[in-house]
């Protein structure tokens, strides 16, 4: 509710920050756009880190019995690669898009809880740093809270890189538990992921309330852009799946630190319980990773096809159905774990059903393009690439759902191929489409199209070279998570191809970075509506002014902006309205010079302060047996407590004249009965 908060001297510890620019402006901001941008940059840096780890994996696998990495380093590299890509890249970059675009797309000035939003961001950042601080602090030889057994490691193999978490991104117990992963590395993993989850949980509540409560006048639920819908669905998925992993991670942390026995098989703990809890979260998680990208694609395709999204309602409901069904399929990751045949059959069937709503989406996207006037701009290329590549990943997914054939496939590179097709060919392509599409929104400039196309084609080629051979490799018997394979196994050739492909992807990423860096300064100015777009976020100047809209928009239909610009002739073809240019100029005008003063969420120190306490507690827990550890917990708790206190004392909003009647109540005003 600080959307309209006044800036006034705080009555508490700090004076409220005033600056909205410069370093402190960024540190204390509660502006969803700045937060979104920071999320984006941080996530991209983590993408480079995760990608670098992937390149290490690929170099190691480029030939049989390679010795580029030690086994410990390899295991650490794929664990951190998976963890980084999932939790530190795709999730936060999706959060970046949602943060930046959600309020703009629903015609709001900010999210419902701007300071909470800042809190999420800082917790995410500190959690990421905390997770990677393992490189500095972890001592692979040091026992965890509980004495463990470890094998004999050749001293030469005891490297810094090998000291990173090495239990896989799924942290299967008991391997990642106190006895078989002594040392502190997996504690960093468990707590780091825990904190990342906390950040996402806060975001999810924030986004849900924002979507329910802050839509522009007239924006009924079924007038929201698909991206907003997918954000809502993702927020719900997060809301209901994160608690499960949180508890599971608590259990691991307790096992490792305080000697509880949840997953200690020797004492009767059940390792299969971890799998249920992890995948109860983990499967909804994969839809958390894909749905924002699907939302982006649903925005991009219509614009460059010059047609409305085909079957809007179907696409929305399909998204919701995917999410709902996605809660009922988790055990398809456990077909080989010895669960009963009834359970296997049931989960196999439930998994297959997801192909139906997903197919609905695919076909509606094709329907959108059908008969359109397709402009192959870079965002469009990425979006089409998404559709084409995702189908491949989806189809291999269906072959896993066929339980007996999954018994052969599971834990092989065939699975690795599947999920990179959906994650890279899907999520990452979709997100890149979004980056190209909304770059002007953020900067007021266009990314270079020539470089963009080069970027797409290198990434597309590299991607297929890397991951297509993994299908063959998997079916030829190459097992996942192996640092070595023997020369006789016959895996050399395709692995080498995959490695080459990975470097081609890297080249594509470098082209993208160059394009971004250059276009930010020298890119062609975009004007207000560079793509002839359809949705509300383009009705305000680029880059978006601090207050988003000069005058809060009112919406009368789906694709409201489009209908302001175009009417339809008798044949149903769009005809530009005569007054379109004037509308645009007006919007530009009010966007630059708002007619009324506008109140913005006030900056605050407390989010970053509160977030800073959390990693302190984390380090404290890991070293809780020592004095320093106890001290850190104490300091951390004090920081969190005092920040919360200061936060709650900071005025939320200026007392103002209760509800003056300037509140417009037009026909478009959506009533809760209709919408909710």
């Amino acid at each position: 509710m600080t959307a309209t908060a006044e800036r006034r001297p705080a009555t508490t510890i700090f004076r409220r920050p005033r600056s909205t620019t410069g370093f402190w402006g960024w540190i204390t901001t509660a502006d969803h756009k700045k937060i979104g941008i920071m999320y984006g940059y941080a996530a991209f840096i983590f993408f480079l880190v995760g990608g670098l780890e992937a390149l290490l994996l690929r170099i190691q696998l480029s030939s049989a019995d390679n010795t580029f990495l030690t086994a410990a380093e390899y295991n650490a590299a794929f664990t951190m690669h998976g963890t980084t890509m999932v939790f530190l890249f795709v999730m936060p970059i999706s959060a970046a898009f949602i943060n930046y675009l959600l309020p703009l797309m629903i015609g709001a000035r900010d999210v419902a809880f701007p300071r909470m939003n800042a809190l999420s961001w800082w917790i995410f950042l500190f959690a990421g740093i905390f997770l990677y601080s393992v490189l500095v602090f972890s001592d692979p030889a040091a026992p965890a809270g509980v004495e463990g057994v470890s094998g004999n490691l050749d001293p030469a193999d005891n490297t810094v890189l090998g000291g990173m978490p090495d239990g896989g991104w799924f942290g299967y117990q008991p391997n990642a538990g106190p006895f078989y992963s002594p040392g502190t590395a997996m504690d960093y993993w468990a707590l780091g992921v825990q904190f990342l989850g906390l950040a996402s949980l806060i975001s999810s509540v924030n986004f849900i309330v924002t979507i329910f409560n802050m839509r522009a006048l007239g924006m009924r639920l079924l007038r929201m852009p698909v991206f907003v819908w997918m954000s809502l669905v993702v927020a719900l998925l997060l809301l209901f799946s994160l608690p499960i992993i949180a508890i599971a991670l608590f259990m691991v942390t307790f096992d490792r630190q305080f000697g509880s026995l949840f997953f200690v098989a020797e004492a009767g703990g059940d390792p299969i319980l971890w799998q249920h809890l992890f995948w109860l979260f983990g499967h909804p998680e994969v839809y958390i990773l894909i749905l924002p990208a699907m939302g982006i694609v649903s925005e991009v395709l219509p614009v460059y096809s010059k047609k409305p999204l085909f079957g809007y309602a179907a696409v929305v409901f399909a998204g919701a159905a995917i999410a709902f069904l996605g809660f009922g399929v988790w055990a398809h990751h456990m077909f080989a774990s010895g669960i009963s045949p009834v359970a296997q059959a049931a989960f196999g069937l439930s998994t297959m059903t997801i192909a139906v709503p997903t197919g609905v989406k695919i076909f509606n996207w094709m329907g959108t393009m059908w008969g359109g006037r397709l402009k192959f701009t870079t965002p469009m290329l990425f979006a089409i690439g998404f559709v084409a590549m995702f189908v491949i990943g989806g189809l291999s997914g269906v072959t896993h759902a066929v339980v007996p054939s999954d018994w052969q496939q599971t834990d092989t590179y065939y699975i690795v191929a599947h999920f990179h097709y959906v994650l890279f060919g899907g999520s990452v392509f979709g997100l890149f489409a979004g980056l190209y599409y909304w770059f002007p929104k953020m900067t007021g400039r266009l990314l270079n199209e020539k470089l963009g196309k080069l970027n797409f084609w290198t990434m597309f080629t590299g991607f297929n070279l890397t991951f297509a051979p993994m299908h063959w490799l998997g079916l030829q018997g190459m097992v996942r998570r192996t640092a070595y394979y023997p020369p006789e196994a016959g895996f050399d050739f395709w692995n080498l191809v995959a490695t080459v492909g990975a470097f081609i992807i890297a080249a594509g990423v470098l082209i993208f970075m160059f394009n971004w860096w250059r276009s930010k300064k020298h890119g062609e100015p975009s004007g207000m509506d560079p793509w002839d777009a359809r949705t509300v976020e383009w009705t305000t100047p680029n880059p978006t002014p601090e207050y988003n809209f000069g005058v809060a928009p009112t919406v009368t239909s789906l694709d409201d902006f489009w209908h302001k610009k175009y009417a339809e002739d008798a044949e149903g073809r769009p005809v530009r309205r005569p007054e379109a240019e004037e509308t645009l100029t007006d919007l530009m005008e009010t966007g630059i010079n708002p007619p009324h003063p506008i109140h913005l969420p006030a900056p605050s120190y407390y989010p970053i302060l509160l977030a800073a306490g959390i990693p302190l507690v984390g380090w404290g827990i890991i070293y809780h047996t020592s004095f320093v550890g106890k001290l850190l917990i104490l300091i951390g708790v004090l920081v969190v407590a005092s920040a919360s206190f200061g936060w709650s004392m900071e005025p939320l909003e200026e007392p103002h004249d209760e509800h003056d009647d300037s509140e417009p109540s037009g026909d478009g005003y959506s009533s809760p009965e209709v919408d909710a």
Binding site: S337, W370, T482
Partner: protein, 359 residues
Amino acid sequence: MIWRHLGRLIRPLIRWGSLVALTVFSLAACSLVEIEDAPLTTFEPAGPFAERIDAVFWQVFWIAVVIFVVVEGGILLIVLLFRDREGRKEPRQIHGNNKLEITWTIIPALILTVIAVPTIQGVFDLTECGDDAMPVEIIGHQWWFEYRYPDHGIESASVLAMPIDREVCAYMTSADVLHNYWVPHLMGKRYLVPGQETTLRLQADEPAEYWGHCAEFCGLSHSLMRARVISMTQADFDGWVAAQQQYAVPPAPDTPAETGLKVFQEQGCTQCHTVDYGPDYQGTNLVADEFFNGPNLTHFASRSVFAGAILPREGQSWSDGLREWLANPPKVKPGSFMPNLDLTHQEIEDLIAWLDTLK
């Protein structure tokens, strides 16, 4: 209208189409060549269970191929047909079509129903062991598989021997973390779960040696946890069993082998390894105590591979493999629970001489 466009686009279609077809074809061709000599391939089922899975896979695979061709072909077609061109009219603003919507919901649902049938049948047919299956116990260790034959009183490691045309029911568990037993020629995978028992059906048609691999990430040397299965005729198997049931033969006096046996005792190898010379044996008993965590070596030399089926390497002799192993096990297999005992060159040679007596 579409046909008019089609005419104009037929040439690029052919061009693109052939390009794609060529690529796909060459990829497939290359991979088939490769698959021929991949010892872990899933494409050469050698027993009824693997064959059943293979059949299900191909059924689904070809359905997927058809969907693939239709969908990707559709995308390609759309891209070629509807690219923006000079003089093209503005597109008609179509918002949807309920009939289409229903069609493309129902057709996939029907296809999936078709796929569901072999899936369910497969699950129920393949999960539970037959009544007259031969039981074998498989115990996973970091990083090797231990086998026990309860009916025959035999213990072995890394290499599983089994008769052909007879179902073997593996009762599996783990001594430490999760493992996953996989012999692609014979069957899919099943986890080995500490504190629990899982079962896996195995059966081979022909006498042969098959590769296996631990498929669940199980720590540092998961990549070096491999396995072999040797299938043989029932007669051969009976002979093998009879041989394995023998006690080891003590080495002749004053041979390097005897020195090797001494080294074995003095270096504390017996702490982990059992060599069963039988109740009549005069020397110190070589039965590892409770803390047992190494392979039983009684018939070590009768195996085709050792140390989790990673040694001897391709082209390496048995003795050279042993030399490499005994010199520094954690170097060969990072994290190995067999420590580097700093054996001298001579000790290693003697040990090898002795180990070779353990037929």
